[in-house]
């Protein structure tokens, strides 16, 4: 079994308390950073680690930190993105509820690196019970001198607060999140200016995912070079995957990047294969926004190489035969799954969650949902299939934020790989519309 950097102690009794967490080596990174390192040295270690943002885009964290503007006399902020709403993704919730002090420790060390004296954790409103867990842990950290004024006698001050959202996927987009934190509707902002220059309250701000911030802890404890030794190429370190759908053992797995997809799905160490002894049909490997791949293409690249759980290998083949690592939300579908129905469900999601600011997204997501609905319910036409592709194309690149693309990609990919199944929904409309109907044919391999 590979090394675990984040979840090694996740099942230790009482690890959510300061005392037990500390006994297992907790808060060492804060001591090391504040007592022996300058903020820039902390940033340097994170750069060396090769850590890439775990929220979905995979942007190098150290580089992002180095873009933070530092005008004299203007406060800066670190905001943790704990909005976790990408369908298929449930790692941050687990991490925060079981290891609240790990996130808090990461927030302190990272805030110190960025020179932030007030930091926020923006958590999705549905997770109020996790907010309570975090608030309790934060008050323990204050009581033990790891938060507040003059932390560990270093002269560094930090206040940390948790802020709940109100139920809106779009607030995971970082500028919508900042609007929401300011008490407004979650409409994404036009960029530039980027948050690194004008973020929360128009002050320089870094927004990072929960898992990215947690990863700073082992990076500072062991050094960026040690972290970078794990993984393959530019996919360094470990990553949490949340596995769901038709698997024998859905759940959260921390893996060293580079495990073959086949091993991840079938080995007993991980997901234990497909449930009910069935065959795998398709996988959405990185949360609902990334292209779906049929079994053959998720297990092997188009060139016939083993597909690995890395940023590079999953995107090998671009959008023609590849996908993306995204947020690590791994959704497996068995042979009985209806691809049209599943695509419709995702389209309904994006239509529901579009903030409505840009017409291509607001109208396009609604249109795709409607067309998919009629295909699934036996009222579709052959032209509908190309219509879907054309609407998806017209959304791409024409919106303020990437939600538009997130809605378009899955539809385009489903038609690309499963066109026969879409056509069957027109030629065998009645049969296909029956609940639980199973398409008898096979996927198209690009």
């Amino acid at each position: 079994m590979g090394r675990k950097l984040l979840t090694e102690h996740i099942n230790v009794e009482g690890i959510d308390t300061f005392e037990v967490y500390r006994k297992h080596g907790g808060y060492r990174s804060v001591e090391k950073a504040l007592k022996t390192m300058t903020p820039d040295e902390v940033v340097e270690e994170v750069k060396k680690s090769g850590l890439r943002g775990r929220g979905g885009a995979g942007f190098p964290t150290g580089l992002k930190w180095s873009f933070l503007a530092k005008p004299e006399g203007v406060p800066r902020h670190l905001v943790c993105n704990a909005d976790e709403s990408e369908p298929g993704t449930f790692k941050d919730r687990q991490l925060m509820s079981k290891l609240p002090h790990l996130l808090i420790e990461g927030m302190i060390t990272s805030s110190y690196a960025l020179g932030a004296n007030t930091s926020y954790i923006y958590i999705r409103g549905e997770l109020l019970y996790v907010l309570r867990i975090l608030e309790k842990a934060i008050s323990e950290a204050y009581a033990n001198g790891f938060l507040g004024k003059n932390i560990l006698g270093s002269g560094y001050d930090l206040d940390l607060h948790v802020h709940p959202g109100g139920g809106a996927y779009i607030c995971g987009e970082e500028t919508a999140l900042l609007e929401s934190l300011e008490g407004k509707r979650g409409n994404p902002r036009n960029k530039p200016p980027f948050p690194a220059v004008q973020g929360l309250y128009a002050r320089p701000t870094v927004v990072n995912n929960v898992e990215s911030i947690a990863a700073v802890v082992p990076i500072i404890n062991d050094g960026g070079d040690e972290y970078a030794k794990l993984g393959v190429g530019k996919s360094t370190g470990t990553k949490l995957f949340s596995a769901c759908g038709h698997l024998n053992k859905p759940g959260i797995y921390e893996i060293e990047l580079g495990v073959p997809v086949e091993e991840f799905i079938y080995s007993d160490e991980y997901c234990g294969g497909i449930w009910k002894g069935r065959e795998l049909k398709a996988v959405v490997a990185g949360g609902s926004s990334v292209p779906i791949l049929p079994k053959e293409l998720i297990l092997k690249t188009a060139a016939g190489e083993d597909r690995l759980m890395t940023y590079e290998s999953l995107s090998d083949g671009g959008f023609v035969t590849g996908t993306m690592l995204g947020s690590g939300g791994f959704i497996a579908m068995d042979e009985t799954t209806c691809i049209v129905r599943n695509t419709w469900s995702f389209s309904r999601f994006y239509h529901h969650e579009s903030c409505g600011q840009c017409s291509p997204c607001r109208e396009g997501t609604g249109w795709m949902e409607k067309v998919l609905h009629r295909l699934e319910h036996g009222h579709g036409h052959m032209e509908d299939i190309d219509l879907l592709v054309s609407v998806a194309k017209q959304i791409e690149g024409n919106t303020i934020c990437p939600l538009g693309e997130a809605a378009a990609w899955p539809v385009a990919a489903a038609v690309r790989h499963f066109r026969d199944e879409f056509e069957w929904h027109v030629t065998h409309a009645k049969e296909a519309a029956r609940p639980g109907a199973v398409y008898p044919g096979k996927a198209v391999l690009a």
Partner: protein, 192 residues
């Protein structure tokens, strides 16, 4: 996204709602988290408190109270309360069952769960309340618990793996036996 103010039904809440003393203390604590001239930041947390205190929904009167509490114009509260799906704009039953309907939950039987809950409670999804006033059924999108599907959220609690009749019954029994609403976290703080 529900944006239609005309949808809001006349309230049967007292004409001028007031936050409890415990809630007022909690609100004061929350306001300190933000810069002094940025009280508006406290809007979402205060709306959550308001919804929990005043029967599971935010009536126009309650929204006005929230506006007064944070020195905002009422419109600033209305536009936010209508944007975020967690805030109920109509009266609800004693327990609001929020059923996740998104892809991963659908793969593990959320459609069947929804139908089952409609049969057991007599309410239909889409915000309808059962004849006995106990349950309101609402479909929601992914709750970040997809590996434990299918899921229902009731207030701050997640009920997971509701793919067996036993688990569903256990949830409903627990909710039916709940005589009072649970003690709210700020009330618990005030009691200590």
């Amino acid at each position: 996204m529900p944006l239609n103010l005309i949808d809001m039904e006349p309230t049967n809440a007292p004409a001028k709602p007031q936050f409890s003393a415990a809630a007022q203390d909690e609100i004061k604590r929350i306001i300190t988290h933000y810069p002094e001239d940025r009280k508006k930041s406290a809007l979402l947390p205060v709306l959550h408190i308001a919804q929990a205190e005043f029967g599971g929904w935010v009536s126009p009167e309650v929204q006005t109270l929230v506006a007064e509490t944070l020195d905002l114009k009422p419109i600033e509260v209305y536009e936010v309360a209508t944007f975020y799906t967690m805030f109920n704009l109509k009266p609800v039953g004693k327990h609001v069952l929020e059923i996740c309907r998104t892809g991963p939950c659908m793969l593990r039987g959320s459609d069947e769960l929804t139908a089952h809950l409609e049969r057991l409670t007599g309410a239909r999804v889409g915000g309808e309340t059962s004849p006995d006033g106990l349950f309101t059924l609402k479909e929601v999108e992914c709750l970040a618990a997809c590996g434990f599907a299918p899921i229902v959220q009731v207030r701050e609690k997640y009920y997971e793996q509701l793919d067996t009749p036993e688990n569903v019954d256990a949830m409903l029994t627990e909710l039916r036996n709940m005589v009072h609403r649970p003690i709210l976290p700020w009330e618990a703080l005030a009691q200590n």
